[in-house]
Subunit: 428 residues, 2 copies
């Protein structure tokens, strides 16, 4: 686990000039991301750790419902996109290779996966299938904004399901509802699953996973026991406009901005028909494959977590997404007894299951504490002269900046690890 | 671990029409990869597992030398490429966004990483740094060929080092030599580290990691205690041409085709100067950062392993790269005692550390054995009527198709897992 003196964590006191969204400001200030151009972002090491923690949770839940991970290319021939009618989408990047062939940069992978399934699936025995990948998406976004919330390139987990009929699709869809609910619960985000507008994707049903926060570009309508995309709610006969607001069956509806972190669609045969993905049923008759498509954005999950839990000092990560579990701050310069005690604690924690960032820099305590509060790891340990006097490292929970009982510095490594483990489990 | 009846492993008896390279033929036939267009490939689930095993080995060794993982975008502004003079490279894909801005698809990430380092590194205290990522690369390859060996899109691990001076660069370079040597050793590939042509990258030194095999596009010159890129060897005054071949100090040189799986370069200030990546030294003087760049291709590692160890029946994976450790074949249809015994063994192996693919399909033993030999997992277990009679599952080592002592079917789960573990460790 890294020593901060050797780690690329370029924190900033000032927000970036053009930043409005809180997650944009804090992720740049905390040294998690940097921009290379409009809507083109790099994830710096600590930021990438948070992204990959979201990825790991998504992967586990996809595998648990029988998802098979694969990888499809970003650069693709234009032909399948012509067949599905999506070649004209304005956000689709198109280019030509040196021989003049028309290529596209995929914004989602319905065309690619259906192209393969059309070749690989022959019989009802080959179905159902759940295929997924984590892959870069490119979109010629007219107005990239809000840090990693709306970009021209981002990683998405997209999965695709293939079934014999609508009943099978509904089953695969329900599996995804379960998986997505668990993913969202595990990340620690506040979220709503809402019915969404099926719009141009076809009419079989769709849901969005919405994380309420001020930077959200979507709006959700909420009442006790009710949550919907605002657009969908306004089409309901049970919703009415009353003065400044809305009512659902006489009860006031609260409207909140939210980030769409995931969406799931029943596609039906929208892609399988133009791309020829069919199978032979038990009677030997050829039938189109029934498909669903399911996206979730690890970057948006991370940014939503920043938005939902930050305070005036900085980020306050949910445990599941933090770049490190523990931020260990050494107060006192190299060669002092307090630094030796911090080094010992670092070595002991390094041998435990917990992930530790160790601030061993030659810097003052004010700077170190400010950086720790900005980065927002769930637990901060401090070892300084005061710790030597009291015999314990100070422990602070980031959420609420609450000081809790210290960690005895003289304890045996095994005891310390056990105490830390208990501490960790006690953090909400 | 998957049941083959539910797993997307589309094996083929016939080779793809246009395939010359053995790895191309076998990876398609074994259901590991499929083509979407010229030089644009998808990794199917079993293939993706082999790719990700290579990735995991590379990541561990990069982390072990202090590498910090991050992610930089594929889609980039053209401006940094103009500054380094690389915008005119023919293989570079260029495109325009909807506002007419010029963009490129990165083929490597020197420009991106140096762009960031120019902003983030200020003082000698910020150096050295080793930054790396696994990211998609795009190249407008004139002649994509040989399956995943030469493609237009592929994943590369590229790392970049940043130092105060040449001595620091040499130290970071040596760390990479160590890491790459260990990566190659761990994959199980036969390989040579050879001096390479520094060419247009600048004159400070470079090496290539070469895996000898017939499909290789490069050539290496070998003699006892000597290995070099053929082009480099031919420039040596100690190498002479003799009749049909070459000699090194009078000893014959053997020339072999090889796949370049990795390369490492001392760049010096080739990128830091045009992109303004400098730092203030101890005396407050501004100096350019010294850089190195280090690439390795997981897809080429996988394909080289296929090339080097295949036999007439199919692939024979090194243990470190196999999609599954064990291929368990159930002979006999559902409901028979032999199938019940296979199911029991599957459940027990599933609870162990080993990764198991279970062939539970309704298919004949001939088809199942042929698929197992084609896919090439290191160990094959077979449970059929014969196993019930002998009381043991048959065990075959894929490398050499060697039958070894069977696995007692009646043993307790713990005993079976211990026996399997011993078996696994005995496989070379």
């Amino acid at each position: 686990m890294p020593r901060l003196s050797e780690y690329l964590l370029p924190t900033e006191k000032q927000p970036p000039a053009d930043a409005e969204a809180l997650s944009h400001v804090l992720m740049v200030r905390a040294g998690l991301i940097r921009q290379m151009g409009a809507g083109m972002w790099s994830w710096l090491p600590a930021g990438w750790r948070t992204h990959q923690r979201a990825v790991a949770i998504i992967r586990e839940e996809m595998d648990a419902i029988g998802g098979q991970e694969m990888l499809m290319p970003v650069l693709q021939p234009a032909e399948p996109w012509r067949k599905t009618g999506r070649l004209d989408i304005e956000e689709l990047f198109k280019l030509h290779d040196r021989k003049g062939s028309e290529l596209v940069l995929a914004m989602t992978h319905e065309e690619a996966v259906t192209f393969h399934v059309a070749q690989l699936v022959r019989s009802y025995r080959d179905l159902p299938l759940i295929l997924y990948h984590f892959q870069v998406k490119e979109r010629d976004e007219p107005r990239p904004r809000a840090g990693v919330l709306r970009t021209r390139e981002f990683i998405m987990k997209d999965s695709y399901t293939f079934d014999r009929d609508q009943a099978g699709l509904e089953e695969r869809y329900e599996l995804h509802v379960g998986a997505y609910d668990r993913i969202m619960q595990r990340t620690g985000l506040r979220f709503y699953r809402v019915e969404s507008d099926v719009g141009m994707m076809g009419g079989l049903g769709a849901h969005e996973y919405m994380a309420p926060c001020p930077a959200g570009e979507d709006e959700i309508a909420l009442a006790p026991g009710y949550a919907a995309n605002l657009e969908v709610a306004l089409r309901s006969p049970e919703v009415s406009k009353v003065g400044d607001g809305y009512e659902l069956r006489g009860e006031p509806l609260s409207v909140q901005p939210a980030i769409e972190v995931g969406n799931i669609f029943m596609l039906g045969t929208r892609y399988s028909e133009p791309l020829g993905a069919s199978y032979l049923d038990e009677t030997g008759q050829e039938r189109p494959v029934w498909m669903g498509s399911y996206g979730i954005g690890p970057a948006r999950i991370v940014a939503a977590a920043v938005e939902q839990f930050a305070d005036e000092r900085g980020i306050s990560w949910p445990k599941a997404l933090a770049p490190f579990d523990v931020h260990l701050v050494a107060v006192g310069s190299a060669g002092t007894p307090e630094r030796d005690a911090a080094e010992r604690l670092y070595e002991i924690l390094n041998a435990s299951e917990l992930e530790v960032l160790y601030d061993d820099r030659d810097a003052g305590p004010g700077e170190k504490f400010a950086d720790a509060e900005l980065l927002g790891c769930p637990l901060r340990l401090t070892v300084g002269r005061r710790s030597l006097e009291s015999g314990a490292a100070e422990v602070q929970v980031r959420r609420g900046l609450k000081d809790i009982e210290g960690l005895p510095l003289d304890a045996e490594p095994g005891t310390l690890q056990r105490l830390m483990d208990e501490l960790w489990r006690s953090v909400p």
